[in-house]
């Protein structure tokens, strides 16, 4: 097959089985767009801003496990994509971003719409390529997909100068079936000796905790994790990124850990003697003050990236490998082992955990006349029967979604954890909906975040991707306001937006349905009405208690055992802001 460079790029996408490409055209990619026009195997989704393209592709990737694909033009198109690339990088999401570049002969001359995309993205990609030779194009595409999806996944940029895609230059095309990169051989199965040591240690544990994270989702190891936890009978906590990897409604699940995790999860970590970290990276939002982190514990850590191990917290038994094969090996050793976990020790450990649970750290004021954001999420859970894909933006609403919507399946909870990118939620929801048109997709957002990528409402209409937008509107950059209340004596510096658009009208202007909800009793019926409109995007602008804070909380510089709990259950939290 003789193809030109533009056709090679598109044909490689077909050969990779790519369904959707999220993009925005411009001069440097016109040849590519012409090639897209002349085929229909790969569907192109025209977003309204390149940041939206990256988040939509990212949402698609998080929901499906397949790499998300983005196409942007050079210069401003490329720089607009950077936030989304960094977002994917921080959460280890597989993506391939194709950026146009000025023609090779003028690279370096400050040509029109030239930026050094390879240079700009270097610190926020797993790898990047500048294509210099059309004969290397197909191989480079293969390498990009290979690197993005194996080992610790991540975004890969392929920067393609315009002359490479010149329609007049054709070469024979053959997509490589396999690609070998001599310098890249991620470890998979883990060291047998260390795995044995880990199992031995687990079987001596008196107060064990399983601490699992996004790596279980990324590594499709939910089933193995669940079996492992069930076999051992140990308590299990998840990071924000791991939610859903273990069924949240299961009794062994003690909730999320970390800054806004449950009291029981953080206390269990603090008191534990043996912790097994599975695909989690000891993020500072999880550990709190490092000197006080898990003072009594020996730690086993399974991670495919050796650099994640002992980066911030020294571990006792490092296991470099993928979660799935490592857990499988552990299960075999556990089955064959004569020794079993100590029943007596576990009983007394669960007794202790139940006392912490009895604190009911997640209770909130259910008598309030105002709409409590937690209540909205609980109702959302009920109306969607816990089956929806929930994307979120960043802020208080994100934490409430994580806390009050118990996910039982992986890939249902889709949020930006590592970079914390406001603006992620809506485009991500569109990406998810395109992947699963028959499933419910809701974006839990805030009045601040939604305005960062609101233009994608237009994309949702054009491509018939009806999503439900749950705007927890507190008129504040609530998360910022909360920190200012706690740490800056309530000096609310620029965390209040005096003018917030009329979201109902805005939704209507974009061709969607808008609804405003003022009273607690309206929440449930509004949600039901919205989800009954299967083929419409509905924007629910829900005016919530502006003063509500996210509890519990480990404040900056504190340890797990030192959580700030909310005021006593049963008392009203309605108040004026100082």
């Amino acid at each position: 097959m003789e193809l030109n460079g533009a056709q090679i790029v598109i044909q490689s996408l077909k050969d990779e089985g790519v369904e959707y490409i999220f993009g925005y055209p411009g001069g440097a990619v016109l040849h590519l767009y012409d090639a897209i026009f002349q085929q229909d195997a790969v569907k192109h989704i025209l977003v309204r801003h390149e940041q939206g393209a990256t988040h939509a592709a990212d949402g698609y990737a998080r929901a499906t496990g397949k790499p998300g694909v983005v196409l942007v033009t050079s210069g401003p198109g490329a720089t607009n994509a950077v936030t989304g690339i960094a977002t994917a990088y921080m959460d280890s999401i597989p993506m391939v971003i194709i950026s146009g570049q000025v023609p090779s002969p003028v690279i370096g001359s400050d040509a029109f719409q030239e930026v050094d995309m390879v240079g700009i993205t270097r610190p926020c990609v797993k790898h990047n390529f500048l294509v210099k030779d059309i004969t290397k194009l197909a191989e480079t595409m293969k390498k990009a997909f290979h690197v993005a999806t194996t080992g610790r996944p991540g975004p890969v940029v392929v920067d393609v100068p315009k002359d490479i895609t010149d329609p007049r230059i054709t070469i024979p095309y053959k997509y490589p079936k396999k690609v070998v990169i001599r310098s890249y051989n991620p470890e998979t199965s883990g060291d047998k000796g260390q795995i044995k040591n880990a199992v031995d240690l687990l079987l001596t544990a008196q107060k064990p905790v399983i601490y699992s994270g996004g790596g279980v989702v990324l590594g499709e190891a939910s089933k193995e994790l669940t079996e492992f936890a069930k076999t051992l009978g140990f308590p299990i906590t998840n990071t924000l990124m791991g939610l859903g990897a273990y069924p949240s409604t299961d009794e062994q699940f003690i909730g999320m850990l970390g800054m806004h995790g449950t009291y029981e999860a953080n206390m269990a970590m603090h008191e534990s003697d043996v912790i097994i970290a599975i695909g989690a990276r000891f993020d500072d939002r999880v550990t709190g003050k490092l000197d006080e982190f898990c003072p009594h514990a020996q730690i086993i850590h399974i991670d495919v990236d050796p650099a994640s191990i002992s980066k911030t917290v020294k571990v006792t038994i490092p296991i470099v490998g993928e979660v799935k094969p490592v857990l499988k090996q552990m299960m075999e050793l556990l089955k064959d082992s004569k020794k079993k976990p100590s029943k007596k020790a576990l009983e007394s450990w669960w007794g202790q955990i139940d006392q912490w649970r009895a604190v009911k750290c997640m209770e909130y004021d259910r008598t309030s006349q105002l709409i409590k954001p937690q209540y909205v999420i609980e109702q959302l859970y009920q109306v969607t029967k816990g089956e929806a894909y929930i994307t979120s933006d960043v802020g208080q609403h994100q934490m409430w979604a994580a806390q009050y919507y118990p996910f039982d399946k992986p890939r249902r909870w889709i949020n930006s954890g590592g970079l914390g990118t406001m603006g992620f939620g809506l485009p991500a929801a569109i990406g998810v909906k395109l992947a699963f048109p028959d499933s419910e997709v809701a974006c839990v957002t805030g009045d601040g975040s939604i305005q960062m990528c609101i233009q994608e409402l237009s994309t949702a209409l054009q491509y018939k991707a009806p999503v439900k937008i749950i705007n927890l509107n507190n008129s504040y950059l609530g998360m910022v306001r909360q920190w200012q209340e706690f740490s800056y004596e309530s000096r609310y510096s620029h965390s209040y937006m005096d003018t917030i658009p009329d979201f109902v009208k805005l939704a209507e202007a974009y061709g969607h349905v808008g609804m405003r909800i003022n009273k607690p009793e309206e929440v449930r019926p509004a949600l039901e009405e919205a989800f009954a409109m299967k083929d419409r995007t509905v924007f629910l602008d829900i005016l919530t208690d502006r003063t509500e804070n996210v509890y519990p909380m480990i404040e900056a510089g504190k340890g797990h055992h030192d959580m700030t709990l909310r005021v006593a259950p049963g008392t009203s939290t309605d108040r004026e802001l100082a």
């Binding site: 270097r122 610190p123 310098s183």
Partner: protein
């Protein structure tokens, strides 16, 4: 502690900036860095001198290994090794000081490779500490310029860093 990290890296444009960028982005310090092609033209060899606690050095080597272009690396501090650095020093001379500089250079096994009526250029190789010692022995006021390559190193014995 000082560590000499020896890296085999794909001889691709941009490979050097990936390494340099990693150090600045993660706040590691580079004391010196040398790069040159190897007998295999597709590979470059990089020698990097850095300082840090064991934990930091461990992170540095892990992060370097994570770069897709890095094929292999060793921390020479982990093995018995030989370290060499090249230095050229331009020294202002007078009638009286010439003899002294010549004998000092020869004690340090240096060579005088350029002579004018008022200057010498001394070439010297050796472990960095030897070069430091030479500089310390020369009257500071007479040194016009010092050019150092930064150390490179190789492990002793049969082991080698190759594919």
């Amino acid at each position: 502690m000082k560590h000499i990290i020896s890296i085999l890296i794909e001889n691709e444009s941009g490979a050097l900036s990936r390494v340099a960028g990693l150090f600045s982005a993660r706040g590691y310090n580079i004391e010196s860095l040398t790069v040159a092609p190897t007998e295999d033209p597709s590979l470059s060899r990089m020698t990097l001198v850095t300082r840090g606690s064991e934990d930091i050095i461990e992170q540095i080597t892990k992060q370097l290994n994570k770069l897709i272009d890095v094929v292999k690396l060793i921390d020479l501090a982990d093995a018995v090794h030989i370290e060499r650095e090249l230095m050229m020093v331009k020294i202002k001379t007078t009638e009286q000081s010439r003899e002294e500089i010549r004998s000092l250079a020869s004690i340090f096994r240096g060579k005088i490779i350029d002579v004018t009526t008022t200057t010498y250029v001394v070439e010297m190789t050796g472990p960095s500490s030897k070069l430091d010692a030479f500089i310390a022995s020369v009257d500071g006021g007479s040194i016009i310029e010092v050019v150092r390559s930064g150390p490179t190193g190789i492990s002793r014995g049969e082991q080698g860093l190759h594919l």
